[in-house]
């Protein structure tokens, strides 16, 4: 009886794992096959990866999209980490009644769905375009600016700061550091794991962001990876091999982040419940 239960557990978990992994395998296999073979349902690796890659580079703005996505994700991550950690630190280290009230109001923004923001944000950036086209509609800055910080990240850093030993801050002040110095020279280096987890969350959501770039970016030279893939997928005569190659390339950075930093990855996710 026990043995049967055990085997059923293994069979069930194997099926679930297979279903979870299969689309990845299919994507990788298809990126090495010709479009015709993909439609025939071929599940064997082919030899056309380089050819698919060449076609992808020749027929789409892949390099531009990769560079734009990388630029947006890296700048957003650096800015968001700095701004949100300063705020999270500030709210916790310099606690006061008024700042606690401000913090609670900031938290309310976590409830605002992006669906409710897309129209007014678009109008806002359309206004900005009139005075400062460099950061208005159809610029990478317009993608970065609204995501420069989130209430969740501020909350995440504030929670982590609660564990931070107060003595270290005092020691820094005794050494004659000013408040900003204490933050940069003592807090930041000590909180490496928190920063790593926050960086992963921010990088992933920025790299994968779709709806806002879809609205605000309009010209091919400002395209991003999700926009490029979405466009390829919507085509009437899709070249499956080429599209799967694009998806493989788009997934490599996030998959790499996941496998290299698995621990921080889960820590970052859990941060939202603690």
């Amino acid at each position: 009886m026990h043995k049967i239960k055990r085997s059923l557990t293994y069979i069930f978990l194997s099926i679930v794992s297979f279903v979870s992994i299969f689309p990845f395998l299919w994507m990788i296999i298809s990126s090495t096959n010709k479009s015709v073979d993909v439609t025939k349902g071929s599940l064997l690796p082919g030899t056309h990866f380089m050819e698919n890659l060449r076609n992808l580079l020749n027929t789409t703005d892949l390099t531009t999209a990769l560079l734009n996505s990388a630029q947006i994700a890296v700048i957003t991550t650096i800015l968001a980490l700095f701004i949100a950690s300063m705020a999270g630190y500030g709210f916790q280290v310099f606690r006061s009644k008024s700042r606690d009230i401000v913090f609670n109001i900031i938290l309310l923004s976590m409830m605002i769905p992006f669906a409710a923001l897309m129209v007014p944000l678009y109008r806002f950036f359309a206004q900005i375009s009139k005075v400062a086209p460099a950061i208005g509609i159809d610029t990478l800055s317009a993608v970065i600016l609204p995501t420069m910080t989130t209430a969740f990240l501020i909350f995440f850093f504030r929670q982590s700061t609660k564990m931070f030993p107060k003595d270290l801050l005092e020691a820094g002040r005794m050494d004659g550091l000013n408040e900003l110095g204490v933050f940069i020279k003592i807090y930041m280096p000590t909180m490496k794991t928190t920063y790593a987890a926050a960086a992963i969350i921010t990088f992933m959501s920025s790299w994968n962001n779709y709806l806002w770039p879809l609205i605000v970016l309009q010209t091919p030279e400002n395209t991003t990876i999700p926009l490029l893939i979405s466009n390829l997928g919507a085509g009437y005569a899709p070249d499956y091999g080429v599209i799967m190659t694009a998806i493989v390339i788009a997934t490599i950075p996030t998959a790499a982040v996941f496998f290299i930093m698995q621990k921080h990855f889960v820590a970052g996710m859990m941060g939202s419940v603690k």
Binding site: F94, M118, F258
Partner: protein, 298 residues
């Protein structure tokens, strides 16, 4: 007196320093969250094409109740919610309980494999699912080879099956994500509780319903609310798998707002009204969450 004064001024400077730490973040949140929300509220009382907006009072709100596309989008969203969220949560719970057994071999592999879908971007996995579930796609080929179906299922072009495809896709993407939360909560349950239950003769299902479920209640509630909020905002999948079709059979509220604003002749006023309907639903959910979480503390 003098001492008091200098104490006060020191307090003032620390106050200024403190505010300088948070001012940038607060300004960004106000500028990109709260200001747009106020703008949207004002917009929701106006109507017209593009920039030609006129005050129409509550007309937009009245229009919601007679707008059949809006009603379709809301009922689609609730269809996804009612089926997808419970199925995913039960599946994730079941998997976590199986994986929590320390005698199980290959736990690490199973856990990583089931979590893997979370590393894909929503757009990327949507395109993969669109092709897998095409009428002549791999899923139909497989089902027909196994003789489970005689004719291909119209996964993307039949109104019912298209909704099911969206539900399968979301479940694939998010089950592992929820599983991680349950797994870590399970590790915090004291093993001796199960030992005691075993001695009392409680079998596995009874242990599951009488110990595991009550102990995990807060985290189950948390994941249900986040999944519900996520589903209320569903966009990327519907846009890339079915484009809301066939007809409007899979249209989500977010996609309807997008269509109203950026696809047809822009009616920002009415789009803002529709977006406030999502805000309204999320606020209600948040209040429920707050109430239940509050009960726990009391």
């Amino acid at each position: 007196m003098k001492e008091k004064k200098s104490g006060l001024s020191l307090h003032k400077t620390t106050g200024l320093t403190a505010w300088s730490f948070i001012i940038i973040a607060v300004s960004i949140i106000v500028l990109f969250y709260f200001y747009p929300m106020i703008d949207a509220l004002l917009l929701s009382f106006k109507s017209g094409m593009g920039a030609n907006l006129q005050f129409v009072g509550l007309d937009n709100y009245k229009r919601l109740f007679t707008d059949s596309t809006f009603i379709t989008a809301v009922s689609n969203t609730f269809f996804y919610l009612i089926i997808q969220v419970p199925v995913m949560i039960i599946l994730a719970l079941f998997i976590s309980v199986l994986l929590n057994d320390s005698n199980l071999k290959g736990r690490g592999f199973f856990r990583t494999a089931i979590f893997l879908p979370c590393v894909t971007s929503l757009v990327a996995y949507s395109i993969i699912f669109k092709y897998l579930f095409a009428a002549d796609g791999l899923v139909n080929m497989l089902l027909m080879k196994l003789h489970l179906i005689a004719d291909p299922i119209q996964w993307l072009t039949d109104p019912f099956w298209a909704k099911i495809t969206i539900i399968i896709a979301i479940t694939w993407r998010w089950t592992g994500y929820n599983m991680i939360f349950y797994l870590s909560a399970l590790q915090n349950i004291d093993k001796s509780i199960y030992e005691a239950a075993k001695i009392d003769g409680a079998n596995a299902p009874r242990q599951f319903f009488n110990i595991t479920i009550p102990m995990l209640k807060p985290i189950i509630l948390f994941t249900s609310i986040t999944s519900t909020i996520g589903t209320l905002q569903l966009f990327d999948e519907v846009m890339n798998i079915t484009k809301g079709g066939p007809g409007n059979a899979t249209l989500s509220i977010s996609q309807y707002i997008y269509n109203l604003s950026f696809k047809y002749n822009a009616d920002f006023g009415y789009a803002a009204t529709v977006s406030y309907s999502i805000v309204f639903m999320i606020v209600i959910l948040a209040i429920i969450q707050f109430k239940v979480a509050g009960d726990k503390d009391a």
